[in-house]
Structures are given as structure tokens and as C-alpha cells.
Amino acid sequence: MEAFEVIKEDRLLDCSDMLCPMPIVNTAKAMKELQPGQVLKMISTDAGSPPDIEAWSRQTGNELLLSTVEGGKFVFFLKKA
């Protein structure tokens, strides 16, 4: 079983077809509405997203549980700090 199949998200955010900086801008907005410990699943088609989400996670302290590719799209699971 793939790791992302066992992580359950509390909210799904689809940033497909958006370019920098909108995926992290929308991720930050969505994350604000979650409670600590809740998980956001973010989908992006921007090839800049994997390094950007890693940097965003380090800067904000929200843990990046998983960064993967699913169906040709980048998928991230972020846990609210």
C-alpha cells in the first residue's frame, strides 16, 4: 500500500494549472483555516511546487508529511503545526 493511501486529509486543495506564487499563497490561506494536527492535501501541476512547498514547510513549521506524484500531478500532505 502506498504511503499516501494511509494518510487521511482533512481538507483537499487543488492548485492545478496555477503558477508561482499562487500554490503556496493558497496553501497558506487553506492552512489558516485548519486546526493544529489537521492535514491538508494539496495538488499542484507547477514543477516549482516540490521545492517551494518544502521551503514553505520549513519556514512556517507546518510539517510536510509526504511529497509525491500521483497521476502526473504533484501531491503534498501538510500537517498544521
Binding site: 497558506a28 521551503a55 514553505w56
Partner: protein, 174 residues
């Protein structure tokens, strides 16, 4: 240790000095990205950058003086869209309306690719409480009043920016 408060969030201080469409993007992209990372952000708009504080953005782009600017067609088959049109300066400088055409092409290409508009990015910055500071001296020189700008704009001078930048982790001149 230059930061007066070690518990304060990271801070980005930008100077935006150019008002064309291509140069309007970097400050608003960096400011909104920093805001998304929880940083404090202030942008000081000076000289031509000041026009980016007007309610209606009229930023245009000129291929003149930007010899490396790729001219792309935002329509047609992909192979056609990827052609880099080489426009000699002599042709561009003599053709009326060329800047308008170049601006439309760039805006449409950006839209097709999924880039937010400058207006959208500025709205994101406002939502994130990015400080937008207009340069008083430039306002005097070009005849701008505070009423010419969006209500979120503050007014300040070099000392205002320097004091803000002295406590910043990143300072950039754009």
C-alpha cells in the same frame, strides 16, 4: 544581531523602482510568497514603481531596451506558440502601437500559462497586510497625491524604508 526583537517573524524589505508590466511582477510575487510563509513584508515604491500603487494598473511592457525578451504568440498550435519571434528594434521603434501589442501578447501568454495578474497579486499582498509605502519625494516630483493611490498605501521617505529594512532579514532592490 541586527534584529531588535529576536522573537519577531522574519522580515522582507523590498524597493520597487520600475513600473512596467514585467517589472511589476517580481515585487508582488516575492511579497505575496513571503507573506504566505508568515513573514512580515514591506514594499517601498519609488520612481516608476510608484505607479503600481494606483487603483487602476496600466502597467505595460516594451520589447524596446529588452533585447532578450521572448515574443510569443498566445494562440495557435503549440509549436507556433513556442516560436520565439525576433523583432528588430528598428521595426519596433517605428511601428505605432507596438507596445500595446507586446503588452497584450504578454498578458495573454501569462493568462494562458496560469500566472496571476498583477492586480490579483497586489490584492493577495493587501490581504496579507503587506505594508505598501509610497515614496513622498517621487510623489512630489511626478505630481502624485495620496488620493491617487489605493487606500492601503502609506507614505514615507528614505528614513522610513531604512528603519524598516534595518530590521529585515532580506532586502532587495527591484
Amino acid at each position: 544581531m541586527s534584529k531588535s526583537n529576536p522573537n519577531a517573524p522574519k522580515r522582507l524589505a523590498l524597493i520597487s523602482s520600475k513600473g512596467t508590466l514585467d517589472w511589476a511582477y517580481p515585487p508582488f510575487i516575492l511579497a505575496s510568497a513571503a507573506g504566505a510563509m508568515g513573514w512580515e513584508v514591506g514594499v517601498f515604491f519609488t520612481f516608476y514603481g510608484l505607479t503600481l500603487l494606483k487603483p487602476e494598473l496600466t502597467a505595460a511592457v516594451s520589447p524596446l531596451g529588452n533585447p532578450a525578451m521572448p515574443m510569443k504568440m498566445p494562440f495557435g498550435p503549440e509549436a507556433f506558440q513556442n516560436v520565439n519571434w525576433n523583432m528588430p528594434n528598428l521595426l519596433m521603434s517605428n511601428m505605432p502601437g507596438f507596445e500595446g501589442v507586446a503588452t497584450s501578447l504578454m498578458k495573454q501568454t501569462f493568462k494562458n500559462k496560469g500566472v496571476a495578474t498583477v492586480e490579483e497579486l497586489r490584492d493577495v499582498c493587501i490581504d496579507m497586510d503587506v505594508r505598501l509605502i509610497g515614496c513622498q519625494m517621487t510623489m512630489d516630483v511626478f505630481g502624485f497625491n495620496k488620493d491617487d493611490f489605493i487606500p492601503q498605501a502609506e507614505i514615507g521617505g528614505a528614513a522610513t524604508f531604512l528603519e524598516y529594512a534595518a530590521d529585515a532579514d532580506v532586502q532587495l532592490f527591484i
